[in-house]
């Protein structure tokens, strides 16, 4: 329903201004369909998604591991705290440019730039979660001689779950945005590259069509992957 109202307002505004910089929903839908049929949109969306999956996985795995270590070890945490603050605050654009300058306009440099931008966020979130672990349950695990593996999987990880999901959601949003800049600056495929092209052509209909594809993918990830994960992990709650 709210979606229909949104489209109606869009239609009204587009009809009123009648400008090619604000195409009607129908035109955007046609462009969307055409670029799907030619395979152009799926190709570029696929390239971006692949980068997303790779860089996201690396950032989450590394970030969780480092976050748990820093949250459990005060001395390491004190040592690396300043590093984290620095990396958290380096502008994304600077990391991207430096990666391209130092390592060349290659795929791994692009992935590295995305990971470096996301990693500090994950570390900080998971570190906070680790600091908030329930000491009572950890004591229980210790006096019942639970193995390190069991303690991590059955005592610590479920407590970190909300933090991991938080890092995942904010991470996906952040990585999307950064990947586009990375592609715009130094790749010859992907959504960012295409959007840059459309910008130079002033092709607003294509920009909007790509945006829709984009939003749809995010919704799908949320519905098909994140929501079920949440549901499964939280079934014990009243």
């Amino acid at each position: 329903m709210s979606l229909l109202v949104f489209i109606a307002i869009w239609q009204a505004l587009a009809a009123y201004f009648a400008s090619h910089t604000l195409p009607t929903p129908a035109i955007v839908a046609t462009v969307f369909w055409q670029s799907c049929v030619t395979g152009e949109l799926p190709f570029h969306l696929g390239a971006t998604l692949l980068r997303l999956v790779v860089s996201f996985s690396i950032a989450m795995l590394l970030g969780c591991a480092l976050g748990i270590v820093l949250g459990r070890n005060k001395r390491l945490d004190a040592f690396f705290d300043n590093w984290l603050v620095i990396f958290l605050n380096v502008p994304a654009l600077v990391t991207i440019i430096l990666c391209y300058v130092w390592f060349g306009l290659i795929e791994s440099a692009a992935i590295l730039a995305v990971v470096l931008n996301k990693l500090p966020n994950v570390i900080v979130t998971i570190r906070e979660g680790t600091r908030a672990l329930d000491q009572d349950l950890l004591e229980m695990a210790k006096c019942y001689n639970l193995s390190k593996h069991d303690t991590l999987v059955h005592v610590i990880w479920p407590q970190l779950h909300p933090f991991v999901m938080g890092a995942t959601r904010s991470g996906l949003a952040l990585i999307w945005k950064i990947i586009l800049v990375v592609e715009l600056l130094g790749r010859s495929n992907g959504m960012g590259y295409q959007l840059h092209l459309f910008f130079q052509l002033f092709d607003v209909a294509s920009i909007l069509a790509y945006t829709i594809a984009f939003v749809a993918v995010i919704q799908l990830i949320e519905l098909m992957i994140l929501k079920p994960l949440d549901k499964k992990a939280l079934q014990w709650r009243r």
Partner: protein, 249 residues
């Protein structure tokens, strides 16, 4: 069943380090305790005297003390079953999964079934802890502690904040379980009546720095423990003979 092993507890001193303006605090001084042949000992003492500290040291959670604790002749560390003041169950695991976790690979479903049966929790074994009442959670914690077949069971006021009938019910279930599977027990409580109902030996402890004041054997036969008047009579006798006890509870 556990091979009966004596537990030797000897704590020369336990200090808490100075924090801020509060100076170093001597919590326990010269405390020696031996548990033999599956003995049920109740520790009584004023609150804040360091009873939980003592249990945590025995459990191996606190290693910052002078002294030693060992089981049997081999001087090995005792295997622990700890029933905390709060049940400390993992909320994301069912009753059964909570018990299975501490058993690890040696998990035997027959043993767990038997324990659930005695504690009247068979029908609740697949329920998540948040759906249990406090009394039931406490019973699960008791099962978990017995399940590992420990050298010593530590219980830190496990019936506190239960209403009287529930506390009595859980206490009787605990005794039923303990009679069936005897173990060495260190049981901390403030409640003299509860202590008499449960213990072979009462041990009275002083305020901090905690040390041994006296010990009293409970002469009531196990079969008579459900008899309220026998317990009450012994309680009066104790309070008459040792008026000091009142100041300790």
């Amino acid at each position: 069943m556990a091979t009966m092993s004596d537990i030797h507890i000897n704590i020369a001193s336990k200090f808490y380090p100075a924090i801020g303006r509060a100076g170093q605090h001597l919590a326990i001084a010269d405390l020696t305790l031996t548990l033999k042949s599956n003995e049920f000992i109740c520790l009584l003492g004023p609150s804040g005297c360091g009873k939980t500290t003592l249990l945590n040291i025995v459990a191996g959670l606190d290693n910052d003390y002078k002294g030693d604790i060992f089981a049997g002749q081999s001087h090995s560390l005792p295997k622990i079953g700890y029933i905390f003041q709060n049940p400390r169950l993992l909320p994301w695991r069912t009753v059964r999964e909570n018990i299975d976790l501490v058993l690890g690979v040696q998990s035997s479903s027959a043993v767990v079934d038997g324990l659930l049966e005695v504690m009247q929790l068979t029908h609740f074994q697949h329920v998540y802890p948040e759906r249990l009442s406090l009394g039931m959670s406490r019973r699960v914690a008791i099962i978990r502690a017995f399940a590992v077949d420990p050298d010593i069971l530590l219980m830190d006021e496990p019936f506190v904040s239960l209403d009287a009938p529930t506390a009595r019910q859980v206490r009787e279930l605990l005794l039923a379980l303990w009679n069936e599977r005897p173990h060495n027990v260190l049981f901390v409580t403030h409640d003299l009546r509860e202590a008499i109902a449960l213990a072979d030996r009462l041990i009275f402890l002083s305020a901090a720095p905690m040390s041994f004041i006296s010990e009293i054997k409970v002469p009531i036969a196990r079969a008579e423990r459900h008899n309220e008047s026998a317990i009450e009579a012994f309680r009066w006798q104790l309070l008459n003979d040792y008026p000091l006890i009142k100041t300790l509870l």
